[in-house]
Subunit: 273 residues, 3 copies
Amino acid sequence: MFKEILENVRKASPLIHNITNYVTVNDCANILLACGASPIMADDWEEVEEITSICGGLNINIGTLNQRIICSMILAGKKSNELDHPVILDPVGAGASKLRTETSGKLLDQVKLTVVRGNISEIRTLALGKGTTKGVDADIADRITEENIDNAVRFAKDFSGKIKAVVAITGAIDIVADSEKAYIIRNGHPMMSKITGTGCMLTAMTAAYLVANRGCSLEATAAATCAMGLCGELALDRLSKNDGNSTYRNYIIDEVFNLDGEKLEKGAKYEVR
Amino acid sequence: MFKEILENVRKASPLIHNITNYVTVNDCANILLACGASPIMADDWEEVEEITSICGGLNINIGTLNQRIICSMILAGKKSNELDHPVILDPVGAGASKLRTETSGKLLDQVKLTVVRGNISEIRTLALGKGTTKGVDADIADRITEENIDNAVRFAKDFSGKIKAVVAITGAIDIVADSEKAYIIRNGHPMMSKITGTGCMLTAMTAAYLVANRGCSLEATAAATCAMGLCGELALDRLSKNDGNSTYRNYIIDEVFNLDGEKLEKGAKYEVR
Amino acid sequence: MFKEILENVRKASPLIHNITNYVTVNDCANILLACGASPIMADDWEEVEEITSICGGLNINIGTLNQRIICSMILAGKKSNELDHPVILDPVGAGASKLRTETSGKLLDQVKLTVVRGNISEIRTLALGKGTTKGVDADIADRITEENIDNAVRFAKDFSGKIKAVVAITGAIDIVADSEKAYIIRNGHPMMSKITGTGCMLTAMTAAYLVANRGCSLEATAAATCAMGLCGELALDRLSKNDGNSTYRNYIIDEVFNLDGEKLEKGAKYEVR
């Protein structure tokens, strides 16, 4: 099934509106192009409703917040809801500051989200209204392991039921869940955490997968998550002795560019609970 | 002649003031360095006039607009006019929102531009005051083909005459025209559209070509356009099986870095009408 | 000793708060990850004090200024002082505009800095309260050569004594000095000036070195400066005929990723005066 999901993205070539941080924005644009979609970035309140109207979906990422773009996020989110476009939220650093925690909460309250994707600390912060985040990385105390995974799956399903959105928690093990069903995904490699933006890139790509696969948001999100992790594995195989995180970043985007449905179907490592 | 034009850039090493979007800004800086120029980015109204005064030319790119930088664009543009510096406008996404269309119009009205460079939908929007743009890509209905090229050349010349600036329309076929003469350029490769920022990079590089070649803006713009397309071709030849759009981006900038006058003269594919 | 300094960074994995420009921000994030640290970028006055509180150190870079983030720089700087965190300033383009010169002066006045790192023109501007800067590059008249190096060392020591911060002046020859002791560093390669952001990256990395090596700011800054230059040399060795500045940028970050204490100890080229 993941094969068709990926192919639908290449066929539909969805246009994605991104209101995102200025740290990883270039990588987000290039990964959208790599997976077959088109990016547009626009964050001013004067144009976000119009821009989102010509797009198929909206990617909101709070990595570098300020009041001007928070306003734009709400406006674009509401317009997307009105037009029934998928909306994905990446609550980067929720828990690290009141501004990030409260903005995430405001977006959850005022915008109907299709998917929320973050690390476990960020998602826990959203669920509890407060949290601890080690900057933009997950707090080590929160991390999902083989030992606590049943609890994590239950948490993800409960939170999904509460917010009526797919919940994607990524880390060493990824969980993608709606209220009834969870994908536990074991693609990826620890080296991915040595690049800035693998999370942001996955969120952007998921937006494209959602737009091209309406009606199966859970599966589309799981497929995108497997795809990103798999590309992290394939890119790692290409690294030679002198390569480091910068070359790795390029190779991951390259692998997304070259990924096809067959490779994804074969390489995806997941179980359903 | 293109040989001398390129060599003039390496000799003069012009300093270019960029007020540009945050998506492709790093690539714009690196391509300016690659072609022999120096970049400076500054977008606050408090400093843009001073910054533009120490530079040789100004690159205005509306890829991620907000009120603060629109004001800066106008101020810097007027100061550049006062100092007789070349000014180039990249109306990214004109037609996709009122803000972009109106800001482009305002810049056309209030700043004397040396060159306007965009895709056909953006340029058509500028000419008509409205338009349709598929995000930041050209609308397929607008695209220049061998069949409609005579019309497109006439349109480019007419619009150039009207705004008294060189008009550069880039796509599968590029047209660079003033009111009397048009270069039809067939360098480049479709894969270039799979990278974010090839247009932005070309605009930035054109600014450097203009500054180093005062008095022949048409030829300088045509040379820069051929150079970018040619580097896209040369970079493509370097790609191996596993490479994708991210490596391609790096190789294009690398080719600009390594391009010399001989290679450009030999590789440029154009006719004049 | 540089060996231990580098290893301390990898052991401590310090979290660095960056208020930096949008041109090279992605490279700064990736080089922090490459050297073993973690980056967080946050520039809104509503959150910078909280963010800086969860970090170990603060990197302030004025490469793309506006009023909003100047306010944030002051707030974050003062909070860092309160918490006794190291603070490093990169006065990008000081001398090129009143805004940059005055903002640097304001930061010097209101924030206790641990290190100031810039090119000779920028540092001279800070010392004199005015200056000439060729955009973001050093003015050629200012450049440090074997002939004027004694004067430059004296200048660096005097200025360090005056501002009570380590002064790092980088260029063809680097000087890292406190009021009594100066490291003269001869690592690096002229090709590094063909990439945007080598200075910004060094400043970000120095912040990590400072946090992991409290009590020896001079040595930590010298070690980071040698490390960056050495990685520029090692990356150059990897370049093949068709490579240019974009590949070079990737390789430099890769070398930082692969650098260990032994390599740094062996490759560092410096004398102490």
